[in-house]
Structure formats: structure tokens, C-alpha cells
Symmetry: C2
Subunit: 172 residues, 2 copies
């Protein structure tokens, strides 16, 4: 939990390639690659999971301490705009960010007890989407919000033993 960021010595080819590719995309739009953006991308790339703004800010602080929190927000906005970064709305009030490429398209579910996020197959809701389309003409974007419920561990143990707590303490 304290250091999933690669030490300055480990180049991490994947992250390097990502930075280069994004730099190109940015330049194509007349925008620029910068330290904060690099740090945010690195944070996201080295986790492969879903991070809250809070968690990204923390990770960035370890990677590039001089980067201001404000710039993290701005970097996330810019990268979202670019399409490299996506976000998922979790229950409660939190938003989680992840790289668009990562692990292909997938849906999310979050445990309302321990906050754990579970990835689900992208096609899980296709029939539901079809039904909603037929019923209301509603065009479902299933990846955009996380389904809510209880993970296996928390369902088994009804009380809050805060099993893993990889994410937030969650209220509801």
C-alpha cells in the first residue's frame, strides 16, 4: 500500500510507451505533455485499477512531489477530454479514474461495505440495454456507473469487519 510506484530506477516499458503515445496525441491537438500529466498517467498506469482523485493525488505526490493538487484535477480533465482517461461513478459520492485502454472495456461493481471494486465482463448488461432501448429509447452506457451491492466476503460477514478496505470506508 505504501509503494506500488516504481522506484526511479525501473523504467516500466508499458508506462513509457503510454507517455510517448499520449504526448503525441496531445501535440496533435496543440496541447502539451507536462510533469503533472506524466505523473497522473504513471500513477494510473502502475495501478491498472481504479483510483479516486484522492488516491491519484497521493500517488502523484510520491512520484512528483512538486506537483500541485490543482494540476492533478486539471490533468485529469485534460486527459479525459483526450479520451485517454475515463471515470466511473461509484456509489456514495466518489469518482474513480482509469486508463481507457486498461484491460479492455468492462463494467464495475462496488461493494458498499468495504469499497472493493470488481470488474465485470463488458457484455453483462447487453440484454438489459436492449430492453431499455426498446422500452424507453434509453441508450445505456453501462461502464459509466458502478453497480452497487455486497461482495462475497462482506455478504458472508454481515458486520463491518472492514475486510480489505482497498478503497473508501463507504457509508452507503
Amino acid at each position: 500500500m505504501t509503494s506500488e510506484v516504481p522506484s526511479p530506477g525501473s523504467p516500466d516499458p508499458d508506462a513509457q510507451a503510454l507517455l510517448a503515445a499520449v504526448a503525441v496525441q496531445l501535440r496533435a491537438k496543440g496541447e502539451r505533455m507536462s510533469a503533472p500529466r506524466r505523473a497522473v498517467l504513471t500513477a494510473l498506469a502502475t495501478t491498472a485499477g481504479h483510483l479516486s482523485t484522492e488516491e491519484i493525488a497521493t500517488a502523484v505526490a510520491e512520484i512528483a512531489p512538486q506537483v500541485h493538487r490543482t494540476s492533478v484535477y486539471r490533468a485529469l480533465a485534460a486527459l479525459s477530454e483526450l479520451g485517454v482517461v475515463q471515470h466511473v461513478h461509484l456509489g456514495h459520492g466518489a469518482t474513480a479514474y482509469h486508463l481507457t485502454g486498461t484491460r479492455g472495456p468492462h463494467l464495475h461493481a462496488q461493494c458498499r461495505q468495504c469499497g472493493r471494486i470488481i470488474d465485470l465482463p463488458a457484455d453483462l448488461l447487453v440484454s438489459v440495454a436492449d430492453r431499455m432501448g426498446a422500452l424507453h429509447g434509453f441508450e445505456l452506457d453501462a461502464t459509466h456507473v458502478a453497480l452497487s451491492g455486497l461482495c462475497a466476503d462482506c455478504a458472508a460477514e454481515p458486520n463491518f469487519e472492514e475486510h480489505h478496505h482497498k478503497h473508501s470506508p463507504i457509508a452507503t
Copy 2:
């Protein structure tokens, strides 16, 4: 839109009954019925829809102007605790509240463009829930978050013509 609150003259039997019933439940727990709680319940009862804290606060201000915003939050917390009020997490960062009894159990979907909320049959996700249970032991609570997407109107008109805007301007 400006006044769905009943004028002081109209008693509204449904709301009255609700207030009485909740008062009993509160007392059973050693708690009390009060002006703010009455106002919040009335606001929710007279809308039958889903209201944001903002909207509730506004409605309450019309019903009982002396009620402080803080008390609205506290009333919502108390009534949620009691189980009379439930909330749904909408995309973006908003939370909508509604009476537990209202229109029976149902799911929600929200248009990410205009914010409109659509009610869906409660059983829409049962097969998905089963699949998640089998796959991960995850116990889905489908009512707790709103599915996200585009409503028919907004899907037809790709640009933001802010069709109805019953709810928030929504960003994403």
C-alpha cells in the same frame, strides 16, 4: 414547477397518514417528530419523484421557511436511518432521495445529458444479479445506483439543447 406543494388549505390525506405513521416509528425508537422532519417528509410525499438535497431544501423552504438547511440534512439522515427514506446515487456526484414506500421497488436510470430520471421495473436486473452472484458471490443491490446513459430525446438530438432539464445540467 413552481408549486407542487399543497396550499395550507389542502390537508392531503396521504401525507397526513405518512406523518402520523412515521411519528409512531420515531417514538418507538425514542426519537421525535419535528417541524423539519415533517417538512422533509411532506416535500418527498408531494413529489413522488426523486429529489436532490438541493431540491428538498428548496421545497422545505417553501413549506417551512424557518427550517434551517442543516436540519434538512439531519432530517434526511434520521429518516434514512429509520428506513422511511431511501437514496439513489446518480451519476456525477448527486444523490436523490425518495420515500421507501413510493411506487414500490424500482430501479433508476439517469440521462447524462439532461439529468432526467427514468423509473425501471424492479426485476430488470434479476438475471444479471444471478450471474454476478454465481460469478463472484456478489450480492447486487440494483436500486442503489442509477444506470447511466442517454434518454430518447437526448440520443436523438446529440447536441445539448437541454430538452427538459428537470434535474441538474449534468456534466458527465
